[in-house]
Subunit: 353 residues, 2 copies
């Protein structure tokens, strides 16, 4: 089959790789499934190795967001059968260990990542034609029936960006009436705007200096747009909210500057919900947190835990997280998807095998 391999900085290629097969033999648990990928996408975090910020030691599979149709299941798989449409969260999880039971599926004691070897063998990455999914019952979410084609982008968004934006909002403690600022206007930041709106925020400020993203942010629920950053951004936010800042700031970037801005923007006693993958730091200034009582909570989003709740709303048409996709390419053109996101020509790109 064909699958995407990253070779190094700005070098992703689609190549022939072995077809995935169910594990066999006496040690096979029978808990795996083979999924034909219907749609995958490129994540902002895929750009770190693409840009060389995180070096690629040797060529490896890439892609951790996909939806598809189950083709085969192992003997022990209970919750799905061939033909089922499934959403794959960006982390593999067993669904049974204490961390999964606690809802922190990203800390699953038996799980792992796409495109790598794990406790139950190799899992293909998402940007390819097919994927062997270990721990299929714990990992995959079955979508009832056969979803309409126009629902695919929103279902795909449930594999990462929408639940990640939701995790930022939940971690930030957004509730009915909260005032919220969102740092970051990528797909996750825009999803966080949507998530904050969904949780009842009364005012949502999108921090963005790109006109198309500002417009989309407003369509997704932002009540205000602030293009300023750094000190000026902090001052603008303070001025907008009683001179002290909003209740909650959602940090959806992961740089030192964005976290600093988030921490200084939240009001005393407020909270920063963060999901930006920390790109080399920074460490958090404890004395500042101590004196302001601003809390910090977040991290790698336990997407699997959130999908059921969000899926119901996608299926009844009340939630449309697929709007963050603004470009689509066939699998063979995956390099163009990376380029478009790297150059910020696209917010998020669907890749169709």
């Amino acid at each position: 089959m064909r699958a995407t391999i990253i070779h190094g900085e700005r070098d992703v290629r689609v190549e022939d790789v072995p077809d995935p097969v169910l594990a066999t033999g006496p040690e096979a648990s029978g808990r795996d499934a083979i999924v034909r990928v219907v749609a995958a996408c490129v994540c902002g975090s895929d750009l770190w190795p693409y840009r060389g910020v995180r070096p690629t030691e040797e060529p490896r599979r890439i892609g951790h967001e996909f939806v598809g149709v189950v083709e085969e299941v192992g003997a022990a798989v209970r919750t799905m059968q061939p033909g089922d449409f499934v959403i794959a969260p960006f982390v593999i999880s067993c669904g049974e260990c204490i961390n999964c039971v606690n809802g922190i599926t990203t800390s699953c004691l038996h799980g792992g990542g796409w495109g790598s070897e794990g406790e139950e063998g190799f899992a293909d990455a998402g940007q390819g034609e097919r994927v062997r999914v270990p721990l299929a019952d714990g990992t995959l979410v079955v979508v009832p029936g056969t979803p309409a084609a126009e629902l695919i982008p929103s279902l795909l968004a449930l594999s990462d960006v929408m639940p990640t934006g939701h995790h930022a909002a939940v971690s930030g403690g957004v509730r009915e009436g909260s005032t919220v600022a969102v740092v970051g206007d990528g797909a996750v930041g825009l999803s966080a705007v949507l998530a904050a709106k969904r949780l009842g925020a009364s005012r949502i400020v999108a921090m963005s200096r790109h006109e198309d993203r500002q417009r989309l942010a407003r369509e997704l629920g932002a009540t205000d747009v602030v293009p300023e950053r750094g000190d000026e951004g902090v001052e603008r936010l303070h001025a907008m909210f009683d001179g002290i800042g909003p209740d909650v700031v959602l940090e959806c970037v992961g740089t030192e500057e964005s976290m600093d801005q988030a921490l200084r923007s939240a009001r005393p006693g407020g909270q920063v919900g963060f999901v930006g993958v920390p790109a080399g730091g920074p460490e958090l200034p404890i004395r500042q947190l101590f004196s302001t009582n601003v809390g910090v909570r977040g991290g790698v989003a336990p997407v699997r835990t959130y999908i059921d709740e969000l899926l119901a709303e996608v299926l009844d048409g009340s939630l449309d997280p697929g709007r963050v996709f603004d470009m689509e390419v066939p699998l063979d053109d995956v390099a163009e998807a990376y380029r478009a996101m790297d150059e910020r020509r696209a917010i998020k790109v669907i890749v169709r095998p």
Copy 2:
């Protein structure tokens, strides 16, 4: 009058200072009160300057926890009158600004600290015979009636340690059924045990290696005691809670070691509630927080916000936070109070003018 002055490392003295008087003149707001101190105490944070960790640039008044009787009030004071018994939180607050309305009285836009000049003039420190209290309505809490002598320690504990332990527990998200570990066996750590118990924690581990404090911790609600620290302490806690650690860790020390231990002890998705005054750091490791989804929240406790709720239980006899006091000295012997706490001969010392 007599009041405590810190001159430098291990040098506190009781000296004659001017009697406090209500502000007069055309610029006086009339919002101050004069309080005769009935009982004060020494805080763990007073030991930082006492030990020279924070240098004392010039002699200054010290003490920020006291209860007493109102002797005089300014013309604009509405909620108290001479003869009223009052509790003074460790920070002065107006009760009317946006941060006070939000309950973060420690970030009051007009408040300040004891023993220093503020927007509304000088406020005496607590370890003395009398105190001029600016912004009396916002700052002081009136205790109804005339409290019995045996209630004084528990009322005094409401000026700082009990609400601070409560703030740790609230910031850590302790609720019915939570599993909790408390790092620190000083008066605040012990108060945090009591606070966690009060909020319904199902299991509370006191981290302590001192037999008398272990015993008191158990009496206040600890179900387990762990004397180990560092890596061994973390391992013990993990082993006690499904191999992953408790839901919540309350950090009540403020050193790099204690915060590190707290962060590594909490389960994935857990929370660290912290109130230990950060002694020079550390900064928080963002990648560790990101990968574990452990949240961090806390800081300088907005005591004023919590007193009403806790006072009701002290008055009806269901809450006895005064048990953390294990020594009492007259004001003239305040130096002995500092020595006893510095040498950990005493947990917390009442000072009686």
